[in-house]
Point group: C2
Chain length 357, copies 2
Amino acid sequence: MDEHELMMKKCLNLASRGQGKVSPNPLVGCVIINESKIIGKGYHKYFGGHHAEVNAINIAKKNGFRLKNASLYVNLEPCSHFGKTPPCADLIIKEGIKKVFIGIPDPNPLVSGIGIRKLKKAGVEVVTDILKGDCLHFNRFFIKSITKHIPYVTLKVAQSIDGMIALNDFSSKWITGNKSRELAHQLRASYDAVLIGKNTAEFDNPSLTVRSAVGRNPKRIVIDRDLSLSSDLKIFKDSCKSLTYIVTSSSARPIKGINYIKIPSRNGKIQLRQLLKALYSSGINSVLVEGGACVFSSFVDDNLFDDAIVMVSPKIIGNGISVFRDFKIHSLSKAKKLNLINISRKDDDVILYYKNN
Amino acid sequence: MDEHELMMKKCLNLASRGQGKVSPNPLVGCVIINESKIIGKGYHKYFGGHHAEVNAINIAKKNGFRLKNASLYVNLEPCSHFGKTPPCADLIIKEGIKKVFIGIPDPNPLVSGIGIRKLKKAGVEVVTDILKGDCLHFNRFFIKSITKHIPYVTLKVAQSIDGMIALNDFSSKWITGNKSRELAHQLRASYDAVLIGKNTAEFDNPSLTVRSAVGRNPKRIVIDRDLSLSSDLKIFKDSCKSLTYIVTSSSARPIKGINYIKIPSRNGKIQLRQLLKALYSSGINSVLVEGGACVFSSFVDDNLFDDAIVMVSPKIIGNGISVFRDFKIHSLSKAKKLNLINISRKDDDVILYYKNN
């Protein structure tokens, strides 16, 4: 890793502090150096707050450092348009910064490249694609949603060696171990929303909150097409009930204080693409799908997921509920092929990370 | 790794050359050093051949080296009894070797420790437990069978992410990739026998030979309780037909040149423990179980396997034949818990290695 990549890595580390707070904005971090010394650091802290570049520049100035001829590192192209804040590109030019190192261009097709052109036109030296792969992965939620107008979708599976997520009576507590559950809660804190189906809501009665990790609770999206779930469930009664969104084809609104999203169904199933569009429209950029088999299978069937985190416990369950049992193919050539990206271990659980293309 | 462990590692490397050739004997390698110089190396080459110590001593003498005051490394306690060859302990004493470094004592309870005592009594310095864990694992086939009188049993599974080993029509070609298949063939070369059930024989029509690796073909054990398999299958017709053993409850011997093992059945199933005892009696120390679901499930149900090698392909099959679908539990506490020992990767396949206890 060269010096520029090291600085970009610092930007990403800074940016990650905004996780769970800046969506639907991207995660951005910024480092400014002058004469080989870091003189300013900043990141985008919360939705509507200053951009990372502004925070880094302000810190440098507050501490009496000169910005003239400085180099600025930022993981995403500086903005060129007036949004909630004035354009960062203009500020960089105004302060006399000499070089700008950028991870990736703004993925928003409406503005991509405009900030870079503005900087170059003003005589600022611009270098792009620093740690490009890392920067793309880092802001995958933002990039997916701004380009496709649906949220980034991750399937999070906790299964036995043989792919079972529950016994036939739907019991599933606990298949994976404590450390995997901590990871699951960390994930919840970094996604805008978690999503489950009716059976999981009914049989597990989960709260879907962040307890075994630090972070804010995500929105809780529960598919209940016919509104048949009992109002005694935790999602309807706990202190986070304002985070509960019931997806239904019915027009009824039976429980006060709960949000309802009406989505048409087809062949007895909620239309997932329509649901994802609706979620994107309400500012949700990332969805963690936590089961069960029916929901997982539908996302595979409709090819509407971006990646899968499969936590494999060292257990054999045998005859039970298989994770994708409602996904049906008639030839092995139709099997859904994923790309294995990473393998890690949490005690005796194996965590497999796959991307869908 | 200290000097003694390095020498023991050399012994294991030498010993491994006997893989597939020495069973039901153990794999043994031997290194002799004198004045910090290796003067002799040897290993047990084939069943009935010289022991490793004899080969190492002979090489040293042939090359004119003095054995007096030398140190000898061997992964298994030198024998003390007259078998197919004279006792190695006596030879070591006779040659004036001063120190003997041993991996593990002979696991055969009838002779364990006798060789060590004989050496010590003759004034030879003996150090045991060098790389003990490695040596135990290395000769796991021999240790299991000599102590339990049944072969070591490994379940070798090739499955999708979701634990499917075939579609519902039994098609399973190919779930895992080329490199996993090479590994599977390497495994075949190192086990005394491979074992499959009737459905796998019928639908896959496998030859169960070693083609994508170097090594000898294993015996092929096929469970066909009622002798309903077609005589057109490869296992009955190819050039290795003498390696085919049909396990049946019937007394008929319909196909000439094929071996039959008669085992009683219970509840419509071949009694696996009886089968394993019969295999051990005929000199088979290790069995690689290659499926299908019915056979895998029975080995789990009867708890008659020692470890499992699970090759996970990066595919989702969904509704299909689940690897242990005939294993049934009524509470998650009854799930069969294994110990995760190792994770590796072959292209996009993940190879999980579990031990049963």
